[in-house]
Symmetry: C2
Subunit: 349 residues, 2 copies
Amino acid sequence: MQRQKRTTIYDIALKLNLAASSVSRALSNSNKVNAATKALVLKTAAEMNYQHNAMASNLRKGNNPTIGVVVPRINQFFFSNIIAGIEEVTYKKGYNLIICQSNELHAREVDCVNALVNQHVSCIIISIAAENGPYEHLQQVLDHQIRLIQFDRVVEELDTFKVINNNEKASYEAVTHLIEQGYRRIALLEGPQQLDIFRQRKEGYLAALRKHNIPVLEELMCENAWTKELGAEATAQLLGLENPPDAIFASTSDFSALGVLEVATNKGIQIPKDLGICGYSNEPFTELTSPSITTIDQYSISMGKTIANLYFQEMEGLEFNVEPKIVSIKPKVIVRKSTQRIADVNATT
Amino acid sequence: MQRQKRTTIYDIALKLNLAASSVSRALSNSNKVNAATKALVLKTAAEMNYQHNAMASNLRKGNNPTIGVVVPRINQFFFSNIIAGIEEVTYKKGYNLIICQSNELHAREVDCVNALVNQHVSCIIISIAAENGPYEHLQQVLDHQIRLIQFDRVVEELDTFKVINNNEKASYEAVTHLIEQGYRRIALLEGPQQLDIFRQRKEGYLAALRKHNIPVLEELMCENAWTKELGAEATAQLLGLENPPDAIFASTSDFSALGVLEVATNKGIQIPKDLGICGYSNEPFTELTSPSITTIDQYSISMGKTIANLYFQEMEGLEFNVEPKIVSIKPKVIVRKSTQRIADVNATT
DNA sequence: TTTTGTTTTGCAATCGATTGCCCTATTTTT
DNA sequence: AAAAATAGGGCAATCGATTGCAAAACAAAA
C-alpha cells in the first residue's frame, strides 16, 4: 500500500469543478449551497473516501471540542467509573475525551495538564495527585482560557468549579452509625492530610465523637493508612494496644478496610461482635467479603455525569467570568454485616 | 477576564524583532539558531505565557502523536487495566491517549472509530463490541493509513496486528484442572458466540473433555450466560437437572461465576465438595469470596504495555506494509478454594 | 424590459507552526 | 588575502478547512 495522500476538500473540488469553499459548505450542511450540489458533493466525498480533518478544522475555528481528564489512577474503580460517567455525556455532545493519569505524582500531573493545554482542549477535569506540590499549572489552565473543573480531591484555594463529595457529612454519618451500634472506642485510619478529602473525613469523625460525648483519643488515630498493607499494619498496632479499639473506621478506602478485616480475622477476632469495620468507596468487593463490609457509596458514575453536565450547562460557550459553582454530592452509608451487631430491620445486607 | 488572544510565535517574533521561523526554531531547539537567541526566545516565551499550539503543529507536520483506544466499557477492570498499561507507555513517548467506550454497541463503536479517524490519530487500539456488525469501519482505518491494533476480542478475518490471550489453552488448562480434581460432569457457561474469544474458550473446554474421554453433553452447555444475573439463571437451571453437573466453568467472566456461587450457596450446596466453580479474568473480588474463586488471570496491565510497545517498536514511523504480528499471551489458571477438593501443596489459596 | 431581491458560487485571507530555500555575516581553509 | 565553508536568520509556501465578502446567476417584482 503506497503512502497515498488523504483526500481533501480540494481534491473533491477539483473533481467536481467547484470551489473548495462550496465543498466545505456542502459538507457542513450549510444552507448556502444548492441541494443538488450538496448531494453531489456528499456522494463524491463518500466515493473518494474523504474523511474530515479535525485538526485543520479545529485550528481554523479556534476551538477543540475535547475534554481532558486527569486522574491519579485510571484503573481505580472510583475513577474509572467517573470517566465512564463523563464519557457517556461527552459522547452525546460529540466531544472527545483525552485521559491521563498522574500516578499520584505531582510532576506527572503537571506534564499531563500542560499537554492538555497544548492541545487547546475546551475543558480540563482533574482530581489532584496525592503528592503535594504547587498548583501553578492549574492557574495556567485558567490563564489560557481553558475551563477547569476539579472533582473529589480539589485545591480549595483555587476558585474553580468543583464537584465534591460531602466527605465530612458522610464520615459523620458513618461514625454515628458505629456509635448507634454500640461501639465506643472507634479508631480512625487517616489518609494523607494534605488532601482535603481526608481532612474532611477526619473532621466528620471528630464531630460525631464530640456530638456523642465520646473522648477523642490520639492513640486511636493512625496517619497514612490508606492502602491495604498500611491498613493491615495500623490494625496490628491498634489491636496490640493495652486498650484496643472496638471499631475501626478506615476512612481512606475499602482496601485499607480489607487490610483491617484480614488482620482481625487472622487474630480470631469476631466481626462485628468484637470489632466493627467500616470502609469508604463501596468497592464491588465489599459486599463479597465475609462478613460483608459497611462502607460509603460515592455514586461515582452519576458523579461523572454531573461533572460533564456542569461543563455543558454552565460553561460551554458562556462567559468566562461567571461565578464558579460548587456541587456537593452527599454520599450514602451502606450498612453491611461488618458493623451490624444490633438487629436492624432496615439494614442492607 | 477578557477574551484575550493566546500568544503565538508571531507575537514573540514581533516583540523580539525576529522572524517567526526563528522563534519556531528556537522553541524546537533547532541548531540553526544562535544559543543566545534561543535563550532569549525561551525567556520571552515564558514571560508572555506562551503555549505551543499542538493543533497547528500537528496539521503542518501531518501527524498527530495520539493513540485512540476503543473498549466496550472503560470501567471494567480488565479494560481499565489495559488502558492503564497503555497509558504508562504512551506517556513516556509523549503521546496522548483518547479513550472511547462502545458500550458493547456496534453503532457506537463505528462512531468512535470515525471520530478517531477524523482526529488523524496515529494508531487505533480496539477491542470490539459484543454486538455483531460489519467491520468496514476498521477497514477504513487501514485505508486511511492509520495503524490498527486489535486486542482481546478481535475480528480474525481482518489482517492487522493483534494481541490476544490464548483463550483456548487457558480454558483447556482450567478444565483439565477441574478434571484432575475429580470433577466429571463439568458444565460450561458460554459467552456470545459471535465473539471469537468465547468460541475459543469453548474449544478449550471441548478439547479438555475429549482428551480425558469425558462425554460432551449438550445439556451442560449454556449459551449466553455472561453476566452475574444470566450466570445465576443458568446455574438454577443446571442444578435443577435430573443429573446436575458437579462443576461449572463460567468461561465468560468472574461475574457470572459469582452468580453461580450465590445460587449454589443459597441452595446449601457445598463448594468445592459438591460443586466446583471456575471463573475467568481474575477480578479482584475472586480472592475475597467464600470460598475464593478459581479463575484465570490475563495479565491485563502488562498486556496493555505489550500493545503499546507493539506500536512503538513495530509500527511507528515504519513502512505500512510490514506483515502484521500476532502476539499471544498465555493466561494463567489461578487455583483457589472453589475447585480444590484434593489437597495440593502447590496450590495458591 | 428594467430593477430589485435572492440563491448560489468563487476568491482569498485566515488559524499557528513548520520548513525548504535563499541571503548575509562570520569563520575557516588554502 | 582570497576562496570556501559555515552559522544564523529571513521569506514565503504549506498543512486543510472555514468564512467574510464579492460576484454571478437566476427569479421575482415593477
